[in-house]
């Protein structure tokens, strides 16, 4: 288990020494969310309606932005070879990398979302539900994205391929994530949506490291 924390700490430390890459996706999220109210106009009713969807689409695209870099540098400098030859379980190390990706990419989005949500005149209840749905949804995005990243590793033009591969799998997360906030606003209650998000998170957490490990082994053949 300690190897999990070793890999998480390693990736966090690496990210701290090349901050531009991390800030890239966070900045993208802020820009997308900030531009919409300016472009659409100041009608509160309209903004309230599109707010959750815009923020969720922004979060989804921001996550995708950094996916192709997830394993790439480790692949190029040979670190992945050493991970494959490590006596530790490869899945645990991959889970460490996924966790680090989520901490660097998902968590900032969860923290920023309520601030940006204010621009869309979302109520406090809606803002807290937005946070909860992102908190459950962004780890799924990281897990599923990691599978795409491992499968396209070493392929030229892999960035586009990842989008094609991963986007259809992101759609359910987007539907139920943004839907949770809208359901709460409309008075139906968001419990069903939250349950479904959780039901997507658990299998993603469990299966993604194994799928990634298989993908990485193929990439290094």
């Amino acid at each position: 288990m300690s190897i999990f924390f070793t890999v998480v700490m390693r990736d966090l430390r690496l990210a701290m020494r090349r901050k531009a890459e991390v800030l890239n996706s966070v900045f993208f999220f802020v820009v997308v969310a900030a531009m919409f109210p300016l472009a659409i106009g100041p009608e509160p009713q309209m903004l309230r309606q599109i707010g959750p969807g815009v923020l969720w689409v922004g979060a989804l695209l921001a996550t995708m932005l950094g996916l192709s870099r997830m394993f790439e540098s480790d692949f190029r400098d040979g670190s992945l070879e050493h991970m494959l030859l490590s006596p530790h379980t490869l899945g645990l190390m991959v889970l460490g990398k996924i966790t680090a990706h989520w901490l660097l990419c998902g968590v900032p989005l969860v923290i920023l979302a309520p601030v940006l949500g204010l621009q869309f005149d979302l109520s406090p209840q809606a803002l807290s539900m937005l946070c909860w749905s992102l908190l459950l949804g962004t780890p799924v995005l990281s897990c599923v994205g990691a599978i795409g990243a491992s499968l396209t590793l070493g392929v030229r033009g892999g960035g586009i391929l990842i989008s094609l591969l991963v986007l259809p799998l992101y759609v359910p997360v987007l539907v139920f994530g943004a839907g949770a906030v809208q359901a709460l606003e409309s008075g139906v209650g968001a419990q069903a949506h939250v349950s479904i998000l959780l039901a997507m998170l658990l299998p993603a957490l469990f299966f993604s490291p194994w799928a990634c490990s298989a993908g990485l082994r193929i990439a290094l053949e």
């Binding site: 390693r10 670190s79 006596p87 190390m93 290094l220």
Partner: protein, 208 residues
Amino acid sequence: MSAACFQVQDASVERAGRLLFQPVSFVLQAGQALHLQGDNGSGKTSLLRALCGLSTLSQGHARWGAMSVSADHHAFKREVFYLGHALGLKDELTALENLQVACAIAGQTLSTTAAQSALQAQGLAKRMHLPLRVLSQGQKRRVALARLQVSAARLWVLDEPWVALDQAAQSALTDLLNAHVAQGGLLLFTSHQAPALGHAVSELRLQP
């Protein structure tokens, strides 16, 4: 502990539907070294990677003692140390951090003092707190070789270990390899230079 013995039988690697080299067989016992030779592109690196289990042999098989490398890969990984052309080091981390992380991934706990003395032995005493990107190619290789120095693996598989090293580092590496073989370790390496290892080194040439 099982007797250290690495057996390779009729091994070859296939690329684009043809065998890279004629199948090779050899047995490496404790305290023996094998120098794998061949022209550029003859498949030396591919063979070494396949023997470590990073890829699969297209034909033949490799055994460590009684167990098969491909079937018992998990147990085999504890016994093998592989160093290829890519060093597996991070430019953003310092030499010391790199060594410690690499050892942790290789399943080895290494105290900070042990890591420092390993780097000192490689002549990097003043460089160990610098990020790796400011070090020269040869100094980076020395950091990778510091891993070799602290490795507990019995089978060392080294792909061109002398490349980019200066005279002093080359002879230090040769001493390290000699000591490993003298202590009953196994050594399998490729090199285009003729290294003066103290022990009898058998040679194997890959034929296209």
